[in-house]
């Protein structure tokens, strides 16, 4: 029987952690793009896109991420389409992230005082001009801390993709445990690596909140 050193375990986990990072980045960036599109539908003037976007957000916020992963992975399989685990993981996480980011950002846009809309309207600006030059620059500032804070949820959310067989940090953890029979060491390390990824994000969210609030203190 092969002996595994501590270094062997750590090295394998770190290699797998790369996929956690990649998956997080893809989900976050993809989710950001889809979320921005949802946001504009959600706050735009037209009724049907607004309802559609709201329905989407409620659906994805109201069901477990795990179910969404299963549906993406097995659901399409029922139609004879073979979905690789990495693709199902990316798609499900992007759609899930988008729903939450759209809702976070909607709150940020709506936190901008009504007077800003009225003042810019009274100066003759149209809806897109108001958005582009007055509302979004202020809303973005408000949005940075919660958005960075939510990225922590995305990183932790990637752990669920181990269940459909995508080999990221958690999946690697169980594989290594099966080979080494040292669950405490292995999962301890897994937890530490997650913490090392998430803690800087939470911390920077806090710092950003404090820093950006200074410029925003009167509003």
């Amino acid at each position: 029987m092969t002996e595994f050193s501590f270094w062997d375990i750590l090295r394998n986990l770190l290699l797998a952690a790369r996929w956690t990072v990649v998956l997080s980045l893809v989900s976050f960036i993809g989710g950001g793009i889809v979320g921005a599109a949802l946001l504009f539908l959600r706050i735009g003037g037209r009724r049907w896109p607004r309802l559609l976007s709201r329905g989407y957000i409620q659906l994805f916020q109201g069901t477990p991420l795990l179910m969404q992963l299963f549906l993406a992975f097995f659901g399409l399989g029922l139609f004879g389409i073979d979905v690789p685990a990495w693709l199902a993981a990316c798609v499900a996480l992007i759609l899930w992230t988008a729903a939450f980011l759209a809702e976070i950002w909607r709150g940020c846009v709506e936190s901008i005082a009504k007077g800003q809309w009225e003042a810019s309207a009274s100066l003759g600006m149209g809806y897109l001009q108001q958005m582009r030059y007055v509302i979004l620059p202020q809303a973005l500032k408000v949005a940075v801390p919660p958005t960075v804070g939510f990225s922590v949820q995305v990183v932790k959310g990637t752990a669920l993709t181990s269940i459909i067989g995508f080999v990221e940090l958690s999946k690697a953890g169980s594989i290594v445990t099966n080979a080494t029979f040292q669950p405490f060491t292995v999962y301890g390390l897994v937890a530490l690596i997650y913490f090392a990824l998430c803690w800087p994000l939470s911390k920077s969210s806090q710092l950003l909140e404090r820093k950006l609030n200074v410029a925003h203190r009167n509003h």
């Binding site: 810019s120 100066l123 030059y133 202020q138 410029a215 009167n218």
Partner: protein
């Protein structure tokens, strides 16, 4: 020929009729004060003139442009009448200069250099040329309101609507804002202002409109309205018996 013609305007919020058929004509260069209790519909009327509220009946014509609730007509209307708000509503992410420049560049497509020149001129006009680079946060309430006036003036409106523009200010800051308004009036700017500054209304305005429960209750020259109120409602409002 009146500059702002308000004819039989009615406005409802749900079942609550806040404007019950208002007709006022404002001539070019006139300074009209609208007074009345809160809830009398005076702010709503002002917001209707600028298209911030739609009207249910009647018509509002500003310098020949009819108020219609679509973006093209609204924009045409808003280029003619500027509006100043109780809460200043400066854009907090832009400097004083940036506030005055933004709509010129975005709406009128004025080149940045020209917009800046206009902004400096307008800020100078309200006595704040030295605050060009200050952020709204760094200005007092009175200064913020003067920047808001400069911002509206930069669009070269033919009339200004002032919605209780001194009500959110500390008493000591009211005078500096009113001085600017007085100067504008002297230069011939058409002004329609909702105000609680009775002395100012008496000194500066050419006509005073007293609104009560969604109607124009009394209208006339300030000396008549203030010295000779004809209805019990106005007498009560003015506190004279």
């Amino acid at each position: 020929m009146s500059l702002i013609a308000i004819t039989e305007v009615k406005k409802r919020f749900g079942d609550n009729e806040v404007l019950k058929g208002i007709s006022i004509d404002v001539a070019p260069g006139e300074v009209v004060a609208i007074i009345g209790k809160s809830g009398s519909g005076k702010s709503t009327l002002l917001r209707c003139i600028n298209g911030l509220e739609t009207i249910d009946e009647g018509s509002i014509v500003v310098a020949g442009a009819q108020f219609l609730p679509d973006e093209v007509h609204l924009k045409a209307l808003r280029l003619k009448v500027g509006m100043i708000f109780q809460q200043f509503n400066l854009f907090p992410h832009l400097t004083a200069g940036g506030n005055v420049m933004l709509s010129q560049m975005v709406v009128k497509k004025t080149p940045k250099k020209d917009a800046e020149a206009v902004a400096r001129k307008m800020l100078d006009r309200v006595g704040l040329a030295h605050k060009f680079d200050a952020l709204p946060d760094e200005l007092s309430g009175g200064q913020q309101q003067r920047v808001a006036i400069a911002r509206a003036l930069a669009m070269q409106p033919i009339a200004l609507l002032c919605d209780e523009i001194t009500s959110a200010l500390d008493p000591e800051l009211v005078a500096e804002v009113l001085a600017v308004v007085k100067e504008l009036a002297a230069e011939g700017m058409t002004l329609v202002m909702v105000t609680h500054e009775m002395r100012f209304a008496r000194d500066v305005c050419s006509r005073v409109v007293f609104m009560h429960q969604g109607r124009v209750h009394e209208i006339g020259a300030p000396e008549d309205v203030f010295s000779n109120p004809r209805t019990p409602e106005l007498r009560q409002f003015l506190g004279v018996q």
